[in-house]
């Protein structure tokens, strides 16, 4: 299972990094989403992988438990990355509507003569 999780994280990270290096907004958003999936699974596994264990202490027996903290961290990270992706989509939509192009690059700041104002 370690191999499966690790390779999944690796594949998603690689895909995400490739996509955020693209020139257009849409692949970059997808790439950031992939990266955030990868990091969520990674955070989840940082408390060691365990199957069939609850993240709370049982008062009825000696049943072992899994680390609850990574689950709390991952919940926070999911909420934040979800919100950030939504903001990113809105801003890129705004930029697309303003500029009629969804390229990430902007013209060299120095070459824009006064048009910015």
């Amino acid at each position: 299972m370690e191999l499966l999780v690790a390779s999944a994280i690796g594949a998603m990270t690689a895909g995400g990094v490739y996509l955020i290096l693209r020139l257009r907004t849409f692949p970059v958003i997808l790439g950031l989403a992939l990266l955030s999936y990868a990091v969520n699974v990674f955070l989840f596994s940082s408390g060691r992988l365990a199957i069939d264990m609850s993240p709370i202490l049982s008062k009825y027996g000696e049943a072992s438990y899994t680390d609850p903290l990574p689950q709390a961290l991952v919940l926070t990270a999911i909420v934040i990355s979800f919100g950030m992706t939504a903001v990113l989509v809105m801003i890129s939509l705004g930029a697309f509507l303003e500029a009629d192009s969804d390229e990430i690059d902007i013209a060299q700041a120095d070459q824009i003569e006064d048009s910015a104002q």
Binding site: L32, L35, I80, G83, E98, I104, A109, D110
Partner: protein, 515 residues
């Protein structure tokens, strides 16, 4: 346990939604609420600074959970200094935004501004590294909104780049935290310091990886080479008051570097020995050079100021990279100075640019009040470049004086001195193009009646209220220079407290033993 410690976070956090929901249609009400809130914040921060001045490390346990299990806020001299700096800068920027009408050119300026303050204060106060991530996100998401405030083509696209860059940085931050938690089992900075110190060097590979990743994340925030490239486009295209507020955001990165790499991965800990100082120093030297050449090469005013911010971050981080108490004192003095200097440059640039056609550095007919603008611009520039009599000179002197080790001295002195010279040349060229040569061009426009949208009032005189915030930032610089002695003494105690690692750890983990 004093509840005042959490007020700098709670106050803006309560005020922001109130402004956003209740006062969204009434700009006057929002202005009053935002100003009152920021003044109150400043008052609280002054009180907290007085409280921290006794040298204790004050702890606030959220939900009263003891330290490694719950999140703690830590108020020591350093965090008190930083929130005080934030609040005073915020007040000046806010007054400028209100006086020049920037806040009414888009929606929700004041709500976002308060959220931004909440995030910055939280990042400075927290004693938990995951909580630091959360506050980074709070300040970033507010800064996205502020960055694209009032819209426009170039601004939206620059804002998009800024968001993408920071989202990638946040992902890296999470990877670093996951690695750190997997290898140490804690995210509390004090607990981390205790645990990392116990890890033998041969087992510390994962901790070193996460320390390196964290350094890259903080370097992105602090605009350190090679991840400084987002800054010029962002600052140059952001609304000027927002760029002035962002002057504190790069300092958040510097603060995080300083805090985490002295307390948790500090000097003297075998497992992470040499990570920060090995990489930070050369990167900071290159950053100084980049900033200086950027200032010289810029053809527009706002990018030029942005590059001077990069240069000042380089100087600051050269001092931070020494990780010694003396150099940290210098770094802190320079940090306070460069925050106000960058802010005053952006605010003045706003006054000038809004009265010209764009911000390109070429002679145009002189604006109204050319002499006044030239004078305050000159003052801010000699502060930024590090010329006497303002505090930039003293700051750079302190930095140079602290870096006397043979290996550092050659590089640091050369970079800072030559960098300052190039910066001065760049500033002088800009100043003469903007203010001197323009006086020889006759007033071309017979029609001072302005653009139809009513935004660019080219011939409008700047009133007292518009100039006053700039004067306040300059007054802060003058004050910093005049009271350099007492300030440096206070900062000496601050850095001594920062390097007192056992004191920090025991204050956070066993607060009852002390009280």
């Amino acid at each position: 346990m004093s509840h005042w410690i959490i007020v700098p976070i709670v106050l803006p956090a309560m005020l922001a939604p109130l402004i956003g929901f209740v006062m969204r249609h009434d700009i006057v009400l929002a202005r009053i609420a935002s100003t009152v809130g920021t003044v109150l914040l400043l008052g609280v921060c002054i009180g907290l600074a007085a409280m921290a001045a006794d040298g204790d490390t004050h702890i606030y346990r959220l939900g009263d959970w003891p330290a490694p299990f719950g999140i703690v806020l830590v108020l020591d001299r350093l965090s008190a200094l930083m929130i005080l700096l934030t609040a005073s800068l915020a007040l000046m920027v806010l007054l400028h935004a209100i006086a020049t009408g920037w806040d009414s050119r888009g929606r929700h300026f004041h709500a976002l501004f308060q959220f931004q303050l909440m995030g910055i204060c939280g990042a400075f106060l927290t004693g938990d590294i995951f909580n630091l991530f959360v506050f980074f996100e709070v300040l970033l998401i507010a800064s996205y909104g502020l960055m694209i405030h009032s819209g426009g083509r170039e601004r939206m696209r620059a804002g998009l780049q800024y968001v993408v860059m920071n989202l990638a940085g946040s992902t890296l931050f999470l990877f670093a935290l996951g690695t750190l938690y997997a290898s140490t089992g804690t995210l509390n900075i004090a607990d981390l310091a205790a645990k990392v110190a116990d890890i033998p060097p041969e087992d510390a590979a994962l901790v070193r990886v996460s320390a390196m990743l964290l350094m890259i994340v903080f370097a992105v925030k602090a605009a350190l080479f090679p991840v400084q490239f987002w800054l010029p486009a962002t600052y140059a295209n952001a609304p000027a008051p927002v760029a002035a507020l962002f002057a504190i955001m790069t300092k958040v990165g510097a603060y995080a570097l300083l805090r985490v790499y002295t307390v948790a991965f500090g000097p003297g800990i075998d497992g992470t020995e040499g990570i920060a100082d090995t990489w930070l120093f050369p990167a900071a030297i290159v950053t100084i050079a980049l900033g200086a050449f950027g200032v010289l090469g810029a053809r527009r005013l706002m990018p030029m100021i942005s590059f001077s911010v990069i240069g000042s971050m380089g100087t600051l981080l050269v001092a931070v990279a020494a990780f010694s108490p003396a150099a940290t004192t210098a770094a802190l003095y320079y940090m306070v100075h460069s925050t106000f200097a960058a802010a005053s440059l952006f605010l003045i640039a706003d006054l000038v640019v809004s009265r010209r056609e764009g911000d390109s550095l070429r002679p145009e007919p002189a604006t109204v009040q050319n002499g006044l603008f030239a004078a305050i611009f000159f003052a801010a520039m000699i502060a930024m470049a590090g010329m006497p009599p303002l505090s930039g000179f003293l700051g750079k002197l302190l930095v140079l004086d602290a870096l006397r080790e043979p290996g550092q001295m050659v590089w640091a002195w050369t970079a800072i001195l030559i960098g300052s010279l190039i910066t001065i040349v760049g500033f002088a060229r800009a100043g003469s193009a903007l203010f001197w040569k323009s006086t020889s061009i006759p007033q071309a426009s017979p029609d001072p009646e302005i653009e139809p949208d009513g935004q660019l009032l080219l011939a409008r005189h700047a009133g007292v209220f518009e100039v006053a915030p700039v004067m306040l930032t300059l007054a802060a610089l003058v004050g910093l220079a005049i009271f350099a002695g007492p300030v440096a003494e206070y900062l000496d105690e601050t850095s001594a407290q920062l390097f007192d690692r056992p004191g920090y750890i025991s204050a956070v983990l066993n607060p009852d033993a002390e009280n």
